[in-house]
């Protein structure tokens, strides 16, 4: 990192908890833990999709990863389709179900702003843009403040993955990556 970047990084890492509390009002009243350091390698949607290799976002077209065949537009429909490529389907309840994995899609001013994933303990995990990864209460990132993510508008669920299905998904991603590199 450059000296300037180190200075910014220090500012961000030091006192990260109070800084995040000042950005997300509900974090002050609930409990949350920082579970990962800031990184630009992946973002909230990627983390919700369990992909730490790349940034997922539909626009501007071509700037980040977005699943093939899904509309490159910042709409709830496109985000539902994107998670649909992983096997998620829309559902009503954010309650913990032992055999289901769930994601929550946030909308702010009518456009997707964030995605979070439910953990097996019932709490939720989020990657905050380029910043930290946290474990938090369901609605802890809601709000209309400058940095807050608006409202949770869609919950999606899929059958919880087994170790074998996780390996198969990883293999599938690897093959896809190899094919896109090969044909480029």
């Amino acid at each position: 990192l450059s000296i300037r970047s180190k200075e910014i990084y220090s500012k961000l890492v030091l006192n990260a908890k109070p800084r995040l509390e000042s950005c997300f009002s509900k974090l002050k009243t609930g409990s949350f833990e920082i579970t990962g350091n800031p990184t630009r390698a992946y973002n909230c949607v990627a983390w919700a999709a369990e992909d730490t290799s790349q940034w997922w976002w539909p626009v501007p077209p071509g700037a980040a990863y977005w699943p093939d065949g899904v509309a490159e537009e910042p709409t709830l429909v496109a985000f539902v389709q994107a998670f649909g490529t992983l096997g998620y389907v829309p559902c009503e309840s954010p309650a913990l179900e032992p055999r289901s994995e769930k994601v929550a899609i946030y909308l702010k001013n009518g456009a997707p702003s964030h995605a979070a994933r439910q953990l097996p303990n019932g709490r939720w995990t989020s990657k905050l843009g380029q910043r930290e990864r946290i474990e938090h209460d369901f609605d802890a990132l809601e709000g209309n403040g400058l940095h807050e993510y608006g409202q949770i508008t869609q919950i999606m669920s899929m059958r919880r993955k087994t170790s074998l299905s996780r390996f198969a998904a990883w293999l599938k991603r690897l093959v896809k990556l190899w094919r896109s590199s090969f044909f480029c």
């Binding site: 700037a63 910042p74 702003s113």
Partner: protein
């Protein structure tokens, strides 16, 4: 030959003012995943509006600390040297732009 979709008349840009704009942009947009929001931020727009004068600064910055400032290079030059397989991988995107910089004679300036 360098192709640009921005005005050739670049405003004067110092290293200090460039770093001030980058710092402002990073601090303001660090919590968002939305690349459109990042590239719409006023500090990012000022970097793009600096035109080709910003290119050496951008390349130097990306070499030290890869980030979505790569999007500014795309807007300034109108080019896209990032291979499809590198989309969304910030380090690889920065690497593609650094190679572009070398091909286009910015390697000395970006040291």
């Amino acid at each position: 030959m360098l192709v640009t979709n921005k005005s050739e008349a670049s405003s004067p840009l110092s290293e200090d003012s460039f770093h001030a704009m980058v710092s402002e942009w990073e601090l303001a947009t660090g919590l968002t995943s939305d690349l459109t929001e990042m590239s719409a931020h006023p500090a990012f727009r000022r970097i793009v509006d600096s035109g080709r004068a910003a290119i050496p600064f951008l390349l130097r910055e990306l070499k030290a600390d890869p980030s979505f400032l790569v999007l500014a290079l795309g807007e300034i030059t109108g080019e896209n040297p990032v291979p499809r397989s590198a989309k969304g991988k910030v380090k690889e995107m920065a690497k593609a732009w650094l190679a572009w910089g070398e091909r286009n004679g910015y390697c000395d300036e970006a040291q």
